[in-house]
Symmetry: C2
């Protein structure tokens, strides 16, 4: 099944203009390049103007931030994605904090994560992989409400926000991670398993084995 998700802000926000998405990529990681290519293609399909900003591996944090500021100020750019991970000499938090909240289409700004977490609040944008996981379940006809969902991993990008989305959708959520003792026993009790952990937790297979017979969504790396 092909699941293609384009997350836009409210239509009226664009006022019939062409929406614009800027993708900032630092260095030449192959996986990042692939992600960015897919995003460029999806933009073309959906009628979104895309802006590619390619910066060298050795770019300074200050230069990267001033690039973000330029995009914040550019009225043609409605969304900004800074491709992660960034090189080690750059503080990820300092850069992401500079993205204007209205352009934080990745939904990684703590204000968006806070609103995602809180009952009665809605973020401007939901992180795309977690949103995709719930969309996959929904399109597969799997209701989440009241189900026991186990999330493997608690990263800011997938594990944490998908746990929060599942909780908001009324699932009973358990989060297992690298410090969990006997994660397999918890996975075995689940109705739905979302595996979004690094290789280290998944490579030995027992968690996957424990997932047999469950509704399983795996976040894959390229």
């Amino acid at each position: 099944m092909k699941v293609s998700l384009i997350i836009l802000g409210p239509r009226e926000y664009f006022n019939k203009k062409v929406p614009g998405l800027a993708v900032v990529i630092v260095g030449s990681r192959k996986d990042s390049q692939s992600y960015v290519n897919m995003k460029r293609k999806a933009c073309a399909e959906a009628g979104i103007k895309s802006f590619d900003i390619n910066l060298p591996e050795q770019v300074s944090e200050t230069e990267l931030i001033s690039q973000v500021h330029e995009l914040n100020a550019n009225p043609e750019v409605h969304g900004i994605l800074v491709q992660l991970p960034l090189p080690k000499h750059i503080n990820e938090e300092s850069v992401l904090n500079e993205i204007r909240i209205e352009k934080d289409v990745d939904g990684f700004h703590p204000l968006n994560i806070g609103k995602l977490a809180m009952k009665g609040r809605e973020p401007l944008f939901q992180p795309c992989t977690p949103k995709g996981c719930l969309e996959l379940l929904s399109r597969s006809g799997i209701s989440v409400k009241g189900k026991r969902a186990v999330v493997v991993g608690r990263s800011n990008i997938v594990g944490l926000p998908v746990s929060l989305l599942l909780l908001k959708a009324d699932a009973t959520v358990s989060i297992v991670h690298s410090h969990t003792i006997d994660p397999e026993s918890i996975v075995r009790e689940a109705d739905i398993v979302i595996a979004a952990a690094g290789q280290a937790m998944m490579e030995n297979g027992p968690i996957l084995l424990a997932s047999f017979g469950k509704d399983l969504v795996i976040e894959t790396k390229i």
Copy 2:
């Protein structure tokens, strides 16, 4: 055991001035009055100047917000607590959003909750009941790391933030709530149970029964 917690910002923030805490209370709910009295006493004990703002039940949202703005601007006030719940004609979110983040000592601002949730980020303030729960466990010599913790309830004020704090402290966290099927069976598997649900979930007793033999923290209402 008496656990008395006074949460202050970094000492240097106060620059040897007397720290000030403003408590805004709308209407005359008895439980709110008791909480506010306890806060006033704790302030006196800790050398904090307290400001009580008592507003009538029928105060408008606009008037309440302009009161918050005044406190935001008052250099003698370093922390603002708006006692919840507010009367039904007032939108809680609209009021809480107006509190300056540096004065959000309740830690309920979505930016603080987002930072509480995210790995590698720290909120300016942690909500006090969740912080108190972890402090109680710590002072009782109970280590959280790797333990199975079950939180009953997912309110913005206790259940959600205490789940996030436990997760950050490396517990394996499960959250059960009003839509959970057979919450007792999940509670039975826990090492630590934090019960922070309304009466409806707790009054029949089976969750409490299932908690026997666990490290149990109950958030009590007055």
